[in-house]
Amino acid sequence: MRIPFGRKIVTYLLLIAAAFLVFTPTMMAVVMSFMTNQDIMTGSLPSAFSLDNYRRAFEQFPLLHYVINSFLVSIAIMIGQLILASLAAYAFVFLEFKGRDFLFYLFIATMMVPFEASIIPNFHTIRDLGWIDQYTGLTIPFFAMAFGTFLLRQNFKQIPKELREASQIAGMGDVKFYLKVVLPVAKTSLITLGVYGFLTSWNMYLWPLLATTNDNVRTVQIGLRQLQSQEQMNDWGVIMAGAVIVIIPTLILLFLGQKKLQRGLTEGALK
């Protein structure tokens, strides 16, 4: 159905205004990343644009190496979360068994444990498992995710029950139904969750810092933090340059992700 011209204009205006508001802080960071520190600190308008900050950001830590690590870690976490969360959500929606609700609330309850409160015991755990400086230590603790389970549960509940019935009649067991019907039909939310999982892992700082002691498996956020100093004046241009470099892959991912968010998979499923 065609969208009327008037509404199109209004929508575009709203979109542009909103985009401007939402993007201003980021834009400001981008501009700052090209400014000299003196301009930034004195609050004056940029007197010159230079790529100097980027050069220095690249020099300061093994950026590419960190980016690759971040990618590996984030992708591993994303996949792990998708698998575990979708399995759990499946059980909560499609399987009926005793204690299901209790377990679900227990899962939800885990969201309420502040991460900061559990970080030390968890650190001890991976230390005892010998996972420090290992990808395992960086990824596995995040595989189980109440949040994702909850998100997918909400989505799975929207799947028409006829689809499950048709599969049951076709002689399909739970595993196959999960793989062949539930996952494809819930593609939209899997992508959303995947993007979320990837980005939160990408942005993790405290845990990777604790779980690694050297550069081998470290991730970009730690690199970013290394650009800041504590007792001295910070070079904000370089810090912003680092932030911009780290944001670019995430923006690309978001762009690709939202493209996959296509309309209504359930549409037309049923009479």
């Binding site: 609050g43 290992q134 504590q230």
Partner: protein
């Protein structure tokens, strides 16, 4: 995950060099400088390879050390900020470097006296001083000139600061006179400068402190000072954020402020005006006592092989050498802990170029050695700072000095009590 293994377990490189893992919290420019020194050390000999590894902020690094202390994952040596000193001593997982000093017959006498004073506890060295700084007062010489003040004769006392502030604001209503970051460390320094103790039991150095050590007059003087400037409208409030304050100073929004001397180089380089550096002010009615050393020191892990510890000790000694200290001083703005460094060409050149930098050294050297300027040691210092910061903010925002002070004192004493109790002693 294959190549990730080893670093924490292996203690030797493939070509037989002794590995020393060195955890630090130096980010930004300091990290660059530190990495340079480490590289030069690794090149200077072929027995030892030092691996400097960034571990986040001081807090994060210390937390992490406490978590791995005593296990294989612990580093050979670690940089810890001055207020972590007591918690390191209490942790039981460190080897006091006094052991190596004695074994080696090493003489610590060539180090800066004030620095030595701080780190010597119960007459022994637990850790090796490394990056040190003290607070100074920065001021805008151009603004001083405009206001008809003498840029070469900065205010020395609280009262002079107030007067100067008024003059500044009068000449330029856009500019505030003075800014104080709500930062516990600065409060401690202002106390010490009055000769006041932060904690009883001689700042916790003669015994375990049981309550605060300053008098009401000493403590309140600082709050009242701020309050007076606040009423005058000459005080700029930047809250707890140091970066904001620096930016405010550079943007000529405020003409004077207190901050770590480690910022000197950056400020002088970035300011579009002439930057002056002055001694920390003190109340008129008391003598200047001096400042306490801040910064961090290097600690040796317990339970490491002797060879490894020896290697680390060798590196620590290397860091003391005048050339290295001169380089460190010029690259970062931290003190040279070894005064001989100031004779090095590099340092001399820089001081000639920026004579203001000498002020920081002079202030340190003008400090009277006493319990007050030795600084307090206790494991609740971080908490103390938070309490003070809240109190300062309260005053900044026009809170009543008496109640604010009373609340702060109560909280401080309670925190000391809890800390003592928590040690289970």
């Amino acid at each position: 995950s294959n190549d990730a293994e080893g670093s924490s377990e292996a203690t030797e490189t493939e070509d037989g060099k002794q590995i020393v893992t060195f955890w630090h919290a130096m980010g930004g420019a300091s990290q660059e400088a530190l990495d340079k020194i480490v590289a030069s050390y690794n090149e200077s000999q072929d027995e030892v390879e030092v691996r400097a590894e960034f571990q986040g902020t001081y807090d994060e690094a210390l937390t992490k050390f406490h978590s791995v202390a005593g296990t294989d994952s612990a580093p050979t040596m670690i940089q810890v900020f001055e207020i972590g000193t007591m918690s390191m001593v209490n942790s039981g997982h460190i080897e006091p470097i006094q052991k190596f000093i004695d074994e080696d017959g090493y003489d610590m006498g060539h180090l800066e006296e004030n620095i030595v004073n701080y780190y010597k506890i119960d007459d022994q060295f637990y850790s090796m001083p490394f990056n040190s700084s003290t607070p100074v007062m920065f001021y805008n010489k151009d603004a001083f000139e405009e206001a008809g003040l003498d840029p070469e004769n900065p205010p020395q006392t609280f009262e002079e600061v107030e007067a100067a502030s008024k003059a500044i604001v009068e000449s330029n209503p856009e500019m505030k006179g003075f800014a104080l970051q709500a930062y516990g460390w600065l409060f401690e320094q202002l106390l010490a400068n009055q000769g006041a103790l932060l904690l009883n039991e001689d700042n916790g150095r003669s015994g375990v402190a049981t309550e605060i050590g300053f008098t009401e007059e000493q403590g309140k003087s600082i709050f009242e000072w701020v309050e007076r400037m606040n009423t005058d409208g000459t005080f700029a409030n930047y809250g707890t954020n140091g970066d904001n304050m620096l930016a405010g100073f550079l943007a000529e929004d405020v003409s004077m402020f207190l901050q770590s001397s480690a910022n000197s180089r950056d400020l002088i380089d970035n300011a579009p005006f002439e930057v002056g550096v002055a001694f920390l002010p003190h109340p008129e009615n008391v003598e200047r006592e001096g400042v306490v050393i801040g910064g961090a020191s290097l600690w040796m892990s317990e339970g490491k092989e002797e060879a490894e510890q020896k290697a680390a000790w060798d590196f620590m000694k290397y860091l003391q050498s005048p050339e290295i200290q001169a380089q460190w001083h010029t690259d970062t703005g931290y003190f040279a802990i070894n005064p001989a460094a100031y004779e090095e060409e590099l340092a001399v050149e820089m001081h000639e170029e920026n004579p203001q930098l000498k002020v920081t050294v002079e202030q340190l050297q003008a400090t009277n050695p006493s319990y007050a300027t030795q600084g307090a040691v206790m494991d609740m210092i971080p908490e103390e700072r938070k309490i003070i910061e809240t109190a300062l903010e309260s005053v900044f925002n026009g809170g009543d000095v008496d109640t604010t002070y009373q609340t702060a004192i109560e909280q401080l004493n309670a925190a000391i009590e809890t800390a003592n109790k928590a040690r289970g002693e």
